[in-house]
Symmetry: C2
Subunit: 334 residues, 2 copies
């Protein structure tokens, strides 16, 4: 039997997930059924939405059951294809990779990659889910007009780093919120005009106001929590707030989030707050991917990855990403 | 000197306004300057937005200073016109009536009424600001589709009673939230399908869920507070929440509202929360007024007024409206 060290969900975390919520087990190598691909995992992606998947609470992402193999985005090499569109040796990206060296994915949602076009792991970052999320959340839901100030939380993360650069390309005025001065320095180097360190600011609302002297027109909210409150206090008339992620709530998932409410401010500013889910834009993926790839090949999109090595490190990589300890798109390389 | 008993703002209320926040003084009868009209007040309107006007907090309505005559919507008869479009004897409606028997208003924003078309005070209700608010908040911002469930708070109030009937006319499924069984019975009689009594429900979220078995597609939020929370817990995918008023916060104006936050739910449902201010729709007033008048004359819009008599009662009428003790559009008849 081939050794296939696989991470299982041991229990639903009640607060911030910890290493003990996961269990590493040697499973038999899986076999591809009709329409499936057996794949050797090269890269795994850990993303904030996966916090919702390991919760019994109703969510948009299909939930995992206790004892299931952890699943998420990945890139791998096809070892055996039972799906007509693929053959052994193909490099593919999909959203249903198990956290394991050999995994079986569906041929229906897998996408073949051209390793000559871009590093294959870019399909998990700027050319994949995070890049598309940045693209549609900013340009479609955010409806920005040239010159408007766009505040972006988790600004150096997988989504934020692309959103900030798209804002720069589209002649907007991007302002970063991130958790360290090093992250903010890098954000400035890729085109953010200013930045706020949410861990060291004496008063977060004052810091956002100082960084956004014209106020905030569009807020790409990847975090919720106190950063949301600070942004709301600088929101301009007819401001648009796109709720892309709630990673600041990762430690209290499924429990009520109590705090300041902003309905009066929403009324007075006639703000629009809108929830975002990438799946709703599937009809436009092809065009958006082509635009992102064009920008990437023109050198207009820089990317930064934070790479963790080996299947053993997958839970650690996931947890540090939830805590904001990563610097750039968090990946696991096998 | 003609006696002109006028209500002045004595101080900014810190919580729910009380009678002692206002002062009745005999002022000299005012005189109309160029472009102005001297008017004998027939009706005064008290509306939730006026809570914001007697606060030092930044707001959309121009604030009053301590000692100013209280101002709001009214209907009156022109005694003297210094504005070319009006003459003595005209019946006019405007938003800048003083709380006084004789008042001076601007000819620029006054509107002449045809007493034969509808009772003149309808210009303060179904054919005026509240009716237009119901019209645009539901049909424009709410973007309802036929058959969708529309939950409306303060459902028998000035805005709610019209919103519910427009929803009925447009073949939506209107559900009322109001503060007494008598109000809910009347709401059903004008076309609401079901209702929730927010003062007696054991669990407000459960009561909303039971009244909206298909969930809530559009929520016309006239109150904020716990009713907002209950509506959010039944909100459907792609639900629309229109923040029209925050009367439940009248007792804590300018102070933070603390409680449940719904960002996770907004994300998961891809809800859209949007602040509403009638002024933004001024370009479309003429068409909307014509539609409301047509429905009114066809007998499709019933109205209910709660009338307080005499200038002495103006603060009392205002305060009971803020507390939800009125039943129907609150007016003061002089």
């Amino acid at each position: 039997m081939t050794r296939n060290s696989s991470w299982l969900l041991k229990r639903y975390p009640t607060g911030m997930p910890g290493p003990d919520d996961f269990l590493l087990e040697d499973l038999p190598a899986p076999a591809a059924g009709p329409g499936e691909l057996l794949v050797r995992t090269l890269w795994l992606s850990v993303d904030p939405y996966m916090r919702g998947r390991i919760s019994p609470a109703k969510n948009y992402a299909a939930g995992l059951k206790i004892g299931d193999v952890m699943r998420g985005g990945g890139v791998g090499e096809v070892l055996q294809s039972e799906s007509p569109g693929f053959k052994a040796g193909d490099i593919v990206q999909a959203d249903d990779f198990g956290w394991q060296p050999m995994t079986v994915i569906s041929g229906k949602t897998a996408m073949a990659l051209d390793p000559a076009a871009a590093p294959v792991q870019a399909s998990l970052g700027c050319l994949g889910m995070p890049g598309l999320t940045a693209y549609f959340s900013l340009l479609d839901v955010g409806s920005p007009k040239e010159g408007e100030t766009v505040l972006i939380s988790a600004a150096s993360g997988a989504v934020g780093q692309i959103a900030g650069q798209i804002a720069r390309i589209r002649k907007l005025d991007p302002v970063a919120v991130a958790g360290s001065d090093a992250k903010l320095a890098w954000c400035r180097s890729i085109g953010y005009r200013a930045g706020v360190n949410h861990r060291t600011a004496a008063d977060l609302a004052d810091a956002v106001a100082a960084a956004c002297p014209q106020g905030v027109d569009v807020f790409i909210d990847n975090t919720a929590g106190p950063i949301h409150d600070a942004a709301m206090s600088s929101l301009n008339l007819f401001g648009r707030v796109v709720i892309v992620g709630t990673v600041a709530l990762a430690d209290r998932f499924g429990q009520p989030d109590l705090g300041l409410r902003h309905l009066r401010r929403i009324l007075v500013t006639r703000a629009r707050i809108q929830g975002f889910l990438l799946d709703d834009f599937v009809q436009s993926y092809v065009a958006a991917r082509a635009q992102l790839l064009a920008w990437y090949r023109q050198g207009l999109l820089e990317t930064r990855e934070d790479i963790s090595s080996g299947i053993d490190t997958a839970p650690h990589a996931f947890i540090r990403m939830l805590k904001g300890e990563n610097f750039g798109k968090q990946l696991v390389k096998l």
